[in-house]
Amino acid sequence: MNWREAKAVLEALIFASSEPVTVKEMSMITVLNEETIASLLADLAQEYNDQQRGIQIKEIAGGYQFVTKPELAVYLEKLKKVPRQVPLSQAALETLAIIAYKQPITRAEIETIRGVRVDSSLSTLLERGLIEETGRKEGPGRPILYGTTKGFLKYFGLNSLDELPIVDDWIINQQIQIDLTAD
């Protein structure tokens, strides 16, 4: 397999997968080492960018995926066969924000922070695959713990949770550490 062929294989792999494909997966399939895959990908991505194409390769949720160029969104919105994403409500966004930064977290803990019941936000977020049950908290009632999913990263175009903005002193895992020392 020459360079050109290898690039074609990666192109087809990324294209055919409905989920972002990781370098590791591509390495396993092509039996090329991960460094080579990385160079091939860089080359391929360059090609798509240089040639003023309609699609590009984007790194999302730890893998690679084809997406359309954002400036073409106006045309794509006119396409009938594209499912339209309904934006999340303010309530759902707030709930999701808390889960993203404070995961793993229970429903009661989210409700304390938001000051309202969050059942319907939680079920919306679960249904949309943005959060998931990650286990149960030790203690009375063993309440369900929630965390964000890979779908969350994909939905917001993030590569990992580290890309979440740092807000004030509110950083990821802060709560987890507090919990650990408190327990």
Binding site: T68, L76, L88, S89, E94, V116, R117, S120
Partner: protein, 256 residues
């Protein structure tokens, strides 16, 4: 008067929320911001009065929201009462114990909630940006159909499947008991016909145009239920313009 905002989320469940405020803390933050007050020194009497005035003016459709708002009102009144009482000078042998400002806990909650709002706003920005990228949507892949997925489900067992089914059955019981309960005597049927007639004249109608003329809460609820029923029956569908958030109602035939 707060307007009632209805939205249909992706799963087709209907949310009736109060415009702008996603909870009592949100309302409190709004009042504080509007009055240009220092968050660390909230004039509790004034804010409590404003909060209660707001509640008084609200016509709640969503009872759960009401309960949360009422709980906050009670908290505010409690703080107010503690503030108005002469502060007991606690003199013990261990020096004079500074009695904690009764507002402190609330201030902390507000600050924490403020961060939530900031993050939510940033997520919303990201969501907007991200919605400009379209990905390939499944679709059939002629040259791939041969490959039957070896591990299509991940670590799911038959037991999980049965559990999912049983859980569903359980959740259906309360829903069935509720079925047909709300406002039936108010004739949702009439409202449904009214909406259909409305749409016979124009293929698309703004949500606000349909509901703007209604005066009583009961009429709004009835119309809303009629709308939901029509959606369920696939006689109509609604869509929300991304930019303005206005809900447009259209005949199902318009959806192609």
């Amino acid at each position: 008067m707060p307007k009632i905002k209805t939205e249909i989320n992706e799963q087709g469940t209907y949310q009736v929320t109060l415009e702008v405020f996603s909870g009592p803390l949100d309302l409190l933050l709004h009042l504080i911001k509007r009055a240009e007050i220092d968050i660390y020194n909230i004039p509790i009497v004034e804010i409590t009065d404003q909060f209660l005035a707001y509640l008084h003016n609200m016509e709640f459709l969503d009872l759960q929201v009401a309960a949360d708002f009422l709980l906050m009102a009670a908290t505010l009144m409690q703080i107010k009462a503690r503030m108005l009482l002469p502060r007991p000078v606690v003199e013990t042998e261990e020096e004079t114990m500074e009695e904690e400002d009764p507002r402190m806990e609330l201030v902390e909650r507000l600050l924490e909630y403020k961060r939530v709002k900031e993050v939510a706003a940033q997520l919303q920005d990201r969501e907007r940006q991200s919605s400009q990228f379209f990905t390939r949507t499944g679709g059939s892949f002629p040259d791939l159909e041969v490959a039957a997925a070896a591990e299509p489900v991940g670590q799911v067992t038959l037991w999980d499947l049965i559990q999912a089914f049983s859980a569903l059955l359980e959740s259906l019981v309360p829903r069935l008991e509720l079925e047909g309960m709300p406002e039936e005597q108010y004739s949702i049927q009439d409202k449904m016909e009214e909406i259909i007639q409305h749409l016979a004249r124009a293929p698309r109608v703004m949500f606000s145009a349909l509901f703007g003329g209604l005066t009583s809460k009961k009429a709004v609820v009835t119309s809303f239920l009629a709308l939901l029923e029509l959606i369920r029956m696939r006689k109509i569908y609604v869509e929300q313009d991304r930019t303005f958030g206005e809900i447009v109602i259209a005949r199902w035939e318009e959806k192609t």
